[in-house]
């Protein structure tokens, strides 16, 4: 039996963590992730979980403690945002390279300066080359379910990589929605018990974690990481299938919304996908062939799924909530545009950078993007490759 409870995105994340009941959580609070750590710390204080909670003095220490705990064989979680993620940067890479299945909810927030606590994706997009897998959540329900799924993904024997589960700061993290929560036992049955093959504390089978690698084997270890990410494209669908069997919800790497016969499409991550769906419905009511593609995963990059979804579309606008300052568009755009080159007949593409520092993205703005796409389809030409949506 499941029940629907009114929860903020952060509380939904904390509920998932309570049910997962990791062996170790080492975390430092930072807006807008604070309510995750706060709520979970309360669960620990109330004795509702047996988790060893380490209240560290910084995010660098948080991720360091997580690396140690995971190497020892503990199921390990943390959570962060923006500058916190930036501070743990060094260890973020070490966690992935050491192949430790840590799961970390990240509440997306702009990086300073100037100081900003509101949503954009500059924090996790910066970490796209760190070797972590990345899931982007549209709403509170996805936050809850993706965190549960992330445990299985991270710990899968063919993957063994840490996973970030991203939600939009304030927009999702502090918005209250009805979240369908499963029973504790159901969740525990789904995730099972975590057993590492190589515990740092196993004195009968001693191992060394994190040795000197240099020119000898470092390249080979990076090659293994690439393979693990590639493997995840095969292994994750098994976990989707099991999740559906267990809880009834079907997941995929991407969500295609009214794309089948679409002439024009927007690609957007996280909560903006929800806003875009409302615009698509509106345009469809007017007989316009509009659709949406919402990638749920950015790592692994679900290339085949994206190509398959976009192959029949005439014009695509890819929305980026972060800027990479290449003047060639944001990260989502450059990767999808590069992937589309493999299609013999590909849609015309353009990029919209939007919502930086929590700047509101509304249906009117998204409508204006579809209007531009309509022109692109008619003219068979992209007017402007990189556009800034909602900037003054």
């Amino acid at each position: 039996m499941s029940k629907v409870v009114a929860l903020m995105g952060d509380q939904a994340a904390a509920e998932a963590m309570r049910q997962i009941e990791p062996d170790v959580v080492a975390a430092y609070p930072i807006t807008p992730q604070t309510e995750i750590v706060m709520t979970f710390a309360q669960f620990v204080a109330d004795g509702r979980v047996q988790t060893e909670m380490i209240p560290v003095e910084s995010e660098h220490s948080a991720m360091s403690a997580c690396v140690g705990a995971a190497a020892a064989g503990a199921r390990t979680m943390t959570a962060t945002s923006a500058n916190g993620l930036a501070l743990m940067w060094e260890i973020v890479y070490i966690a992935a390279s050491t192949r430790l299945p840590i799961v970390m909810p990240v509440v997306n927030r702009a990086l300073s300066a100037p100081i900003n606590i509101h949503c954009d994706h500059s924090d996790t997009m910066g970490a796209r080359d760190s070797g972590w897998l990345q899931i982007y959540c549209e709403n509170n329900q996805e936050v809850y379910e993706n965190i549960i799924m992330a445990i299985r993904i991270a710990e899968h024997k063919d993957i063994l990589l840490p996973v970030m589960v991203c939600q939009d700061g304030f927009i999702t993290s502090h918005a209250v929605e009805g979240v369908k929560l499963y029973e504790d036992k159901q969740v525990k049955d789904f995730i099972g018990e975590y057993k590492t093959a190589h515990s740092l504390l196993d004195v009968d089978k001693p191992v060394t974690y994190g040795p000197l690698d240099l020119q000898d084997y470092y390249f080979e270890h990076k090659r293994q990481q690439s393979e693990a990410v590639k493997n995840s494209l095969k292994a994750i669908p098994e976990i989707f299938a099991e999740f559906k069997k267990h809880f009834g919800t079907a997941y995929d790497f991407v969500e295609a919304y009214k794309l089948d016969d679409a002439d024009m499409a927007i690609v957007a991550l996280s909560s903006t996908a929800g806003t875009t769906k409302a615009v698509v419905d509106n345009l469809r009511a007017q007989g316009k062939k509009a659709g949406l593609l919402k990638p749920r995963f950015f790592r692994p990059f679900p290339k085949e799924k994206i190509l398959n979804a976009l192959k029949g579309v005439k014009a695509v606008a890819i929305l980026d909530r972060s800027e990479s300052f290449s003047n060639q568009g944001g990260p989502l755009f450059t990767e999808i545009r590069a992937a589309l080159l493999d299609l013999p007949q590909r849609p015309l593409t353009c990029n919209y950078i939007y919502g930086l520092g929590g700047r509101d993205i509304n249906t009117e703005q998204i409508k204006s993007v579809y209007a531009e796409l309509e022109k692109t389809v008619k003219d068979k030409k992209v007017k402007n490759l990189v556009n800034y949506l909602g900037v003054r």
């Binding site: 390279s97 192949r99 063994l160 190589h198 001693p206 060394t208 040795p211 080979e220 090659r223 293994q224």
Partner: protein
């Protein structure tokens, strides 16, 4: 031929204990310790201080240096109470 990426443990994991001995760090050395046996009083203070366990001891007596692992840091020469160890530049040998 060294092993390829398919044949080594993931994540840089080393599955054998004590494998550091196989890593010949002595190649890094610029200065090598040379002992005057006549002056040595076998107090073994060098053995106590050597950070690389490179002082060889047999029957409670200092018998030489493990030059495959000694990096030439000179701590032994520095702590020796009778100054019987000198650091000599490698190419002079």
């Amino acid at each position: 031929m060294k092993k390829g990426w398919k044949d080594i443990p993931i994540g840089g994991l080393i599955e054998q204990a004590g494998s550091a001995a196989e890593y010949k760090s002595g190649e890094w050395r610029t200065f090598r310790p040379v002992r005057d046996e006549k002056k040595c009083i076998n107090c073994l203070i060098c053995w106590l201080y050597c950070p690389d366990s490179s002082i060889k001891v047999k029957d409670k007596k200092m018998v030489g240096f493990d030059l495959e692992h000694c990096k030439g840091c000179g701590i032994c020469a520095s702590v020796c109470p009778v100054k019987c160890i000198k650091m000599e530049k490698e190419q002079q040998k």
